[in-house]
Symmetry: C2
Subunit: 206 residues, 2 copies
């Protein structure tokens, strides 16, 4: 398993670089320097150089980066050529908000479907994505590639859902349920605690 | 403005400590040691000591912490005695999910109401909180204390909403809109990028 080589903050800037580079591509600019990208985005040169270096190596002195090459490298790094697929378990308000959110594609991710215990037949979300009864989850996982499970069920249902995810050999879980999950060693869990984010802001202004 | 003295991770553990301490209070335990708290929560002793030290100072050697005193200190630190109030602007799925989420109270925060452009009359959320037309936002802010604004509108509406927030002298913004906001220097903005959280998990499993 490769650990990420870039920090979370750095990863967050990569789609911005890509956007700038694609604009330059349209303007037929064959090469681009870190200062140009930095100016375009209001960032520091050193930061841009550091971010790009982690992904693609350094630019050439006096020339900079090959625009087309850097676009390909960033797209590859962000997984555009082989997007990973996630499913959501728990189609409450938060689950549905995530299901219909368009921003995941910027990071080579697709949320394919949601599952819910309260669903007795397949529903369709606002953006046209399926919401299935949880009873077909196992069958779905057997016939579709699923890389990530997003758990948005209440605390007391989270472990049961987690066990179903693990049984279906999904190795990555993004959990919004406010409880620690028991998983085998080869499964990665990332916990999202929205209350904590707000609490942290609260502490900053006190 | 005081910057937070504890890290985000540490802040996240404080409500857990409080829970353990309150249980010990009920059992009439006058004092408690870091190893006991650590064992109770499956954490390391050093971490518990460090977290508590930042908030309340060190425990007494061989005695530990005064249980009642530590409960009071933690409650004070987490703002239970004077909860801050937040409002949500943008009552879409995400806005409503946050409005009805119960976990903010653990951190001395209350989400009092939501506002939405599409609302022509006051609605009530699932947990009984008001969703007002945005037209009464200024009036609401004049008659209610609002410490934090949570922005959950689409990108292209975010700056306009932000300007209204700033005009109403709210000094802290938690933004889910995927765009940088222009604010005066004395306003703190915390950006939440859910796509980025998922992207980071994705990178960890690639």
């Amino acid at each position: 398993m490769n650990k990420p080589e870039v920090s979370r903050a750095s990863l967050g800037r990569l789609p911005l670089y890509l956007e700038v580079l694609k604009k330059l591509q349209l303007q037929n600019q064959k090469s681009v320097s870190a200062p140009v990208i930095a100016r375009e985005l209001g960032l520091g040169e050193v930061q841009v150089r550091k971010d790009l270096c982690a992904v693609s190596g350094a630019g050439k002195p006096k020339v900079g980066y090959d625009t087309n090459g850097l676009v390909r490298t960033l797209e590859e790094f962000l997984g555009y050529s082989h997007p990973n697929t996630a499913v959501i378990i728990g189609a409450g308000k938060l689950g549905r908000a995530l299901l219909d959110y368009g921003g995941f594609a910027d990071y080579g991710l697709e949320i394919a479907a949601a599952f819910d215990k309260a669903c007795s037949k397949t529903l369709v979300s606002e953006t046209g994505k399926p919401i299935y009864p949880i009873s077909i989850f196992d069958g779905y996982c057997q016939s579709h590639p699923v890389n990530i499970a997003i758990i948005t069920v209440p605390c007391d249902a989270a472990q049961e859902v987690c066990d179903a995810v693990v049984k279906n050999r999904i190795k990555a879980i993004w959990s919004f349920a406010g409880t620690r999950l028991k998983v085998p060693e080869d499964v990665t869990v990332q916990y999202e605690n929205l209350a904590l984010s707000l609490a942290y802001l609260n502490k900053q202004i006190l």
